[in-house]
């Protein structure tokens, strides 16, 4: 069998895909409904990268996103350590008029991040957000070891939520929501013997965990934009080992793997590529090989799949496929602010 034709960036197909997702998410996404706001972030984010935001109503999006914000109903809400952020879906939002005592709205750090990021993408001025209660209640979610619990009802704590907290503080331009030094300590404890970062201390180095670690450190001001500075002895992390770990994740098919000796996957082109971008080393990868890999991950229906030459796209890999191509400065795509995961133009 001959070599398959080299693919082109199928822009029109991707526009159609994201437009369809923004119009209605198929029933297969119901099991992810608790993260409805995040799914919306992917849809809106994807359209923004494609320069097709006019396909959605920005006003409607603002109104919808804001309707997920949990406002303090009583002074006791703040005393009771309820997180006053954004809920991720209607299914975690309960009108207190109907509910008995423990039925609080369950805001979540990931939904709060998704909410603020989506609002910024569509041009909403976050200064209009009532953020005092949000930030002071968020600080209560920080654990003694510096990590963050994402909800006040108890959940796993790991690097994902340290990142969310840092991104939230950065977008609101207010760091009273977290203790940065404690967070830094937790992040450093997550650096593995091989230079990458695991999701929790002791865990295997992982592309997603490494992005959360490095992006959070950068947002908090502990990492510089140029490689030379980051390689100085005084840098808080072992940047040299991190650099090698990241570069070794690009494998023979041109794509990036999330962990050593695993298959390459579309999304890690963003997670790991993003780390390299943040520390000033993105020019060291093989851009051509990566681009070719990503183009083979395009679905014939538009959007991107997890692995090359598959047929069924999903919105998560579709968003990160576009984001990765944006890092490669693909023609027709907007540039990203990598560490916040939103258009550079939206800042």
């Amino acid at each position: 069998m001959g070599k398959p034709e080299l693919a082109d960036f199928a822009r029109a197909h991707h526009v159609a895909f994201f437009d369809a997702m923004a119009t209605e998410l198929p029933g297969e996404y119901a099991p992810q409904e608790v993260n409805h706001l995040t799914l919306a972030y992917f849809a809106v984010g994807g359209l923004s990268l494609l320069r097709e935001l006019d396909r959605v109503s920005k006003d409607k999006i603002v109104e919808w996103v804001l309707s997920f914000q949990t406002h303090p109903q009583a002074i006791s809400d703040i005393d009771n350590q309820i997180f006053l952020g954004f809920c991720g879906s209607r299914s975690t939002q309960f009108s207190l008029a109907n509910a008995k005592d423990p039925c609080h709205n369950v805001s979540h750090l990931a939904s709060t991040y998704s909410a603020l990021a989506t609002l910024k993408i569509v041009g909403y001025d976050l200064a209009n957000i009532d953020s005092n209660a949000l930030l002071s209640s968020m600080k209560l979610l920080q654990q003694p070891d510096g990590s963050f619990m994402p909800t006040h009802i108890g959940a796993e704590t790991d690097l994902r939520f340290v990142y969310c907290a840092a991104a939230i503080c950065s977008m609101l331009d207010d760091w009273t929501g977290m203790d940065k030094l404690k967070a830094k300590d937790y992040i450093l404890n997550c650096q593995s013997y091989d230079g990458g970062f695991g999701m929790v201390p002791g865990s295997e180095s992982h592309g997603g965990g490494t992005f959360c670690a490095v992006a959070a450190l950068h947002l908090m001001g502990f990492i510089q934009v140029d490689l030379a500075s980051n390689l100085l002895e005084s840098a808080p992390i072992d940047t040299r080992m991190l650099l090698e770990w990241c570069l070794q994740r690009q494998v023979t098919d041109g794509g990036f793997q999330g962990r050593r000796n695993k298959d390459s996957d579309t999304c890690y082109a963003f997670w790991v590529g993003g780390v390299l971008k943040i520390i000033g080393a993105y020019h060291l990868i093989d851009h051509c090989a990566l681009r070719e890999f990503l183009l083979t991950c395009q679905s014939p229906y538009g959007g991107f799949t997890k692995f090359p030459n598959q047929r069924i796209p999903d919105i998560y890999h579709s968003y990160y496929g576009l984001a990765a191509l944006s890092l490669l400065e693909e023609e027709g795509l907007e540039l990203l602010c990598v560490e916040l995961g939103i258009l550079a133009a939206a800042l």
Binding site: I153, E156, V200, T252, N261
Partner: protein, 327 residues
């Protein structure tokens, strides 16, 4: 409650829920990015809302959460409601652990399920450590790299114990697949944190031997090379003093001068100030001779140049590395 083999019965047809009025989801004004919910999903969540609002803590509420979890295992509010009920009914947490283990088997990458297991394990205490280790072993037998399973296993070890067989378990996994990086990572945890071993200082020597053996079995496997370096993290002088390290590089390169991992480790050693043995110098000279341009290059620069050719995906990195050698 529906069994995998029985047809799914919607809550509206459960006799015990006859008096309950389901509460529909209030999607609010002009929903954006709406989800096309299927009827069964919508119905079970409507009944969940009804019982949750009513503050019910009953066996029927418990059964309803099981139905909701089946269709919507990611919804942490449903799990939270279930935990409230379990506590109120003074439930058998071991029985509940068996229940969630069954669900975990078909949803092994769901965060809420693993969190529920941790919540139960905290309540059950050290007595449940071995049961949890058996369970994660089962999950890892199907997917030896399941990140959630490894996280849970590490948490159980550090919170509840059960370290006795862990190094042996790593050995077993590596025998099955020496490329399994999760197993190498676990090995590092055991060596450094097990209260039964002596820590890195006591274990390093035997670990170096073990790792070198693994390298020689397959020098193209990156995992043992990184592990080997990891054994000397923060101890550069000890690394340089251990002749076995440069020794394994030479041994591998004599067989295959293009082995990227051997070249890369060698380069790091030289950069850190390794005084090369005659054997090492001869080996590199032998590799240099294939390229007349390298004739005058020092050892480190020569190795860098060879890497630029042998590892073309990272040619930009090796070029950059070369520039740092002169400074």
């Amino acid at each position: 409650m529906a069994d995998a083999d029985e047809a799914w019965v919607p809550p509206s047809r459960w006799p015990e829920l006859a008096g309950v009025t389901p509460v529909p989801q209030d999607d609010g004004p002009s929903p954006v990015v709406p989800i096309a919910y299927r009827d069964d999903f919508r119905e079970v969540m409507d009944y969940f809302r009804a019982l949750y609002f009513a503050g019910e803590r009953s066996p029927r509420a418990l059964r309803l959460t099981a139905a909701a979890i089946e269709l919507n295992p990611g919804n942490y509010t449903v799990w939270h409601f279930r935990r409230l009920i379990l506590e109120a009914l003074d439930s058998d947490f071991l029985e509940e652990m068996n229940f969630v283990d069954k669900i975990a088997e078909s949803n092994p990458k769901n965060y809420q399920i693993w969190h529920h297991k941790r919540w139960l394990a905290e309540k059950l205490g050290p007595d449940v450590a071995n049961k949890e280790h058996e369970f994660t072993k089962t999950i890892l037998a199907t997917d030896s790299k399941n990140y959630h399973a490894w996280s849970h296993r590490q948490w159980v070890l550090q919170s509840l114990g059960g370290w006795e067989g862990e190094l042996q378990y790593c050995n077993q996994l590596l025998e099955e697949d020496i490329f399994n990086n999760s197993a190498w990572n676990q090995r590092y945890l055991v060596i450094t944190r097990s209260p039964l071993l002596g820590g890195m200082t006591a274990m390093r020597d035997s670990e170096v031997d073990y790792t070198i053996e693994a390298i020689l079995l397959n020098p193209q496997n990156e995992s043992p090379w990184r592990y080997l370096k990891g054994l000397y993290k923060g101890e550069n002088s000890l690394l340089l003093a251990d002749e076995r390290i440069s020794g394994v590089c030479v041994k591998v390169l004599k067989n295959d001068w293009s082995c990227v991992f051997a070249l890369s480790l060698l380069l790091d050693l030289l950069r850190l100030g390794l005084q090369p043995s005659d054997e090492l110098k001869d080996t590199i000279e032998g590799m240099k001779s294939s390229d007349p341009e390298l004739a005058d290059a020092d050892l480190a620069t020569a190795v860098c140049s060879i890497l630029q050719k042998c590892d073309p995906l990272r040619v930009n990195y090796w070029s950059w590395y070369k520039t740092t050698l002169s400074s």
